[in-house]
């Protein structure tokens, strides 16, 4: 036993002595950018999952025909130009001399293949190109995309479709996007072969994903970034994520918690970049049901009365929420889409003023002087401080007699509940990947018909508005189209089926050694980065 004790003591001693030695940080070769956020990419298959962070992963190794500038303008990428050759055909001229990571040439056949692959039922990207009837190779550098009816926003939509190598996909048996039906892992889930600025080096799901500079990338001369390697690590615990940034183990944190922003700002060697995200947070009201499922008014629906909706709007003091709950990191909203989206107008983005007396008068007019009871469905892990926002709203509506019972729960429970239309009053946030108002209207305001209106849980249906939304998709005259969008927003704002709250604000925390623009769709693009 004595021997054992001595050995133990020796071991413990050795461990203690070794601490400072083994803690010396390994010296990195070249410029390595280490970053983290809460979760991991769902898959490396570029056509499987349309989710924010997964797209971030894809944007490193893959590219679309149309690309994005740092201020989210659509710019030439794998296509050098595009134009509508007639009402239903878009022509894309391809960039020549582009090579995939495996050294093969990027060709028109790859474009045809990729667009069709993204239309496969397994693909989560098929909605973007739902209007595409056919894709045709005209010659080595020309591709025609034919649509069902005219579609002026096709380039915006097709920007979200990543280009893959046909030969590589055929060789590795991944002609179709990854599927759940076959219950198998495909080659494309863990391997990539794009044309993008970085080449996938190692992929360990949930642990580490490393990409290296693509020295032969066509865009290098316009974007002379100096990043040799990017190491991405998901770090779930917010405190650990911030600690890793503070201790210099990370250069960039995508989702720094709001309460830590000030702390990071004050730390030497770190900076926080801030911008308005293209995402608006708002409340939805069931205006169409004859009786509210989660309300205590029987035989009628108080939300069907516009005066009630208006009263609720007047009763929400959004400035207070922005200051107290969001710590200033919110832009008060009067429409449910944010600056940066085509059709957004400053003049339309005006809230009804906070006015309790007017709200009370409206409630009295509508016959609800004593108010009523209602349940509010809210997520608590999806948007910045979502539960806090809902709590504030509960208190504010109480002042006009509306007793709100708050049901705040995880997004894994919240969104299914909404999708079953099992709600009367709910919180939701909406981003716009195409940067066009049509995306908002077709999901949020169009009458649900199995394809459109799939996020319209308000039971609101307005044939006139539906006609205008379809018009937005096919109107080719920009002036007429803009008028249509403007009129549609005016109707939606006037109807108050949604109570706008705020446009979300992004905070990216990074080392001062890193010079990288913050991008409003919350998708970092590292080829714009420079490291000291």
């Amino acid at each position: 036993m004595a021997k054992f004790r001595i050995k133990a003591a020796l071991l413990a001693g050795a461990l203690t002595l070794a601490l400072p030695l083994i803690a010396a940080p390994a010296l990195a070769q070249g410029k390595v950018l280490r970053w983290a956020s809460q979760g991991d990419y769902l898959t490396m298959d570029p056509h499987s999952q349309n989710e924010g962070l997964t797209r971030t992963g894809s944007f490193q190794t893959y590219e679309g025909l149309v690309g994005y500038s740092a201020d989210l303008k659509f710019v030439p990428a794998l296509a050098t130009s595009w134009k509508a050759v007639n009402d239903t055909t878009w022509e894309f001229k391809l960039r020549q001399g582009v090579k995939f990571h495996d050294g093969s040439d990027f060709t028109a056949d790859d474009v045809v293949f990729s667009v069709k692959r993204a239309q496969h039922p397994n693909s989560d990207f098929k909605t973007y190109i739902a209007s595409v009837k056919d894709v045709k190779k005209i010659d080595a550098q020309t591709v025609h995309v034919e649509t069902n009816g005219a579609n002026p926003i096709l380039p915006n939509q097709i920007a979200n479709i990543f280009m893959m190598s046909k030969a590589w996909a055929e060789k590795n048996n991944v002609v179709n996007p990854q599927s759940y039906k076959d219950k198998e892992e495909t080659f494309a889930v863990r391997n990539t072969n794009g044309t993008g600025p970085f080449v996938l080096k190692t992929r360990e799901q949930d642990v580490r994903t490393v990409v290296a500079k693509n020295p032969t990338w066509w865009g290098l001369k316009d974007n002379p970034h100096n990043i040799d390697e990017i190491v991405y690590t998901p770090v779930t615990t917010p405190a650990t994520r911030v600690a890793a940034l503070l201790s210099g183990q990370l250069d960039f944190v995508l989702d720094v918690p709001v309460q830590d922003v000030e702390r990071v700002k004050r730390s030497a060697g770190l900076q926080v970049k801030k911008t308005n995200e293209i995402r608006t947070i708002f409340l939805g009201l069931d205006v169409g049901s004859p009786e509210l499922k989660y309300g205590d008014v029987k035989g009628k629906n108080p939300f069907a009365d516009k005066r009630v909706r208006q009263a609720m709007y007047h009763a929400i003091d959004m400035n207070a929420i922005a200051q107290k709950v969001m710590r200033g990191d919110a832009v008060v909203a009067g429409m449910i889409t944010s600056p940066g989206v085509h059709g957004y107008e400053k003049a339309l983005d005006k809230r009804l003023p906070y006015d309790l007396n007017k709200a009370k008068a409206l409630m009295k007019d509508a016959g609800y002087a004593n108010g009523f009871g209602i349940k509010l469905d809210c997520s608590n892990d999806r948007y910045v401080n979502d539960e806090g926002i809902c709590q504030a709203v509960v208190g504010m509506l109480a002042q006009i007699g509306i007793k709100v019972d708050l049901a705040a729960q995880s997004k894994t429970l919240h969104f299914p509940k909404l999708q079953k239309k099992d709600t009367s009053f709910y919180l939701v946030g909406w981003g716009v990947p195409t940067f066009d108002s049509h995306y908002v209207f077709s999901y949020m305001a169009q009458t649900p018909d199995g394809k459109n209106g799939s996020w319209n849980f308000t039971n609101y249906s307005n044939p006139k508005l539906d006609g205008m939304i379809n018009g937005m998709l096919s109107e080719l005259d920009p002036a007429k189209r803009d008028k249509l969008i403007h009129d549609a927003w005016t109707i939606l704002n006037d109807e108050i089926i949604y109570l706008p709250l705020h446009h979300q604000v992004l905070n990216w925390a990074m080392s001062e050694k890193l010079d990288m623009p913050i991008i409003a769709d919350n998708v970092p693009r590292f080829h714009f980065a420079k490291m000291k």
């Binding site: 349309n50 889930v189 949930d206 995880s410 199995g450």
Partner: protein
């Protein structure tokens, strides 16, 4: 004797079935996996189709039978989130957790036992009191706070140790180990200490109590009377007899370590099974959650079974009583 073993096995099996049923039932009502699998743009038809493909529309008993049949073959299906076989995922994560648990248990024993012996022998010294008091403080702080505290101290303030991850790992066949690299050792120190603290206190207190108990027994008194040195009495007579119950408890606690590692792994982003489980919970990734629960359940059941059977082998009284009872019954 055979009857006793068969009885024990049957009990173990019943427990496992119950665990499997709970796993299956609970997780069928946690969130909606479909919603997590598809993007916000999926249509209602897509959702319904996927639901059908995954068999989520079948009657519950059928789903449970299918679940059991597959589980028996080690097949827990495809993770909803990672789209990869759960068995492969777990196999990838097992080394990280086991290395962490192994080192934690080692720390708990190597530090806990000498401290326990010391505090038993020098009951009234000021050092003993300091050790006992600080062990109480250590054990009453939540793991989360200890972990974050260590990170704050050793990563943010001193910049000695990495705050997350497993460092560089070496692959030996399917086993990945962090024990062969500097960064691997640096990365495991803080999680191992965090995880071991509770067990360390347990070992310390157990050894101390047992030791004090043994020191009061007659054979120790006789040993002293025979004029044996303190060292021989303490370490040969007393400590040896202290070890039996301590080792039993430690054996059972290994299961606890694996279960407790969830919090530690989350704080340190340690890529083990616990982290896999937590990530699965956030996503309602039913196959992974079910597999983890069944696995941990199996681990506890096996450990208990082994302890039971070991008692049966070691303790002749147990065999006697059983024999007599059986005799009376017939």
């Amino acid at each position: 004797m055979l009857g006793y073993i068969v009885g024990r096995l049957a009990q173990a099996l019943a427990v496992m079935l119950a665990v499997a049923l709970v796993a299956f039932m609970l997780f069928n009502y946690v969130g909606d996996p479909i919603n997590n699998m598809v993007g916000q743009d999926a249509t209602t038809t897509d959702r319904a189709e996927l639901r059908e493909q995954l068999g989520l529309n079948d009657p519950a008993p059928l789903q449970f039978a299918r679940f059991l049949g597959n589980a028996a073959q080690g097949n827990f299906g495809l993770s909803y989130r990672l789209k990869r076989p759960v068995s492969v995922l777990i196999q990838e994560r097992v080394p990280a957790t086991l290395e962490l648990v192994f080192l934690s248990a080692l720390v708990a024993l190597v530090v806990g036992m000498p401290l326990g012996v010391y505090t038993a022998l020098r009951r009234d010294s000021w050092l003993s009191r300091v050790i006992l008091t600080s062990s109480l403080v250590g054990v009453s702080l939540p793991t989360f706070v200890i972990g974050i505290g260590l990170i704050y101290l050793f990563s943010v303030q001193f910049d000695w140790l990495p705050s997350f991850g497993r460092g560089q790992v070496t692959h030996l066949g399917w086993w990945s180990t962090g024990f062969l690299t500097k960064s691997g050792w640096a990365a495991i120190i803080m999680p191992a200490i965090t995880l071991s603290l509770y067990q360390l206190t347990l070992v310390l207190r157990l050894v101390r109590t047992e030791m004090m108990e043994v020191l009061r027994t007659d054979y120790v008194k006789f040993a002293r009377a025979r004029g044996l040195s303190n060292r021989i009495v303490h370490f040969h007579h007393a400590l040896k007899n202290t070890m039996m119950p301590v080792i039993t408890i430690i054996g059972l606690q290994v299961g606890g370590l694996i279960a407790f590692s969830i919090v530690t792994e989350t704080v340190f982003q340690w890529p083990g099974m616990g982290l896999l489980f937590i990530q699965a919970v956030g996503f309602a990734d039913i196959p992974v959650m079910a597999a983890y629960l069944v696995l941990v359940g199996a681990m506890f059941v096996v450990l208990n079974l082994m302890v039971d059977l070991a008692y049966f082998v070691i303790d002749p009284r147990l065999r006697m009583d059983r024999g007599k009872a059986a005799g009376k019954a017939t």
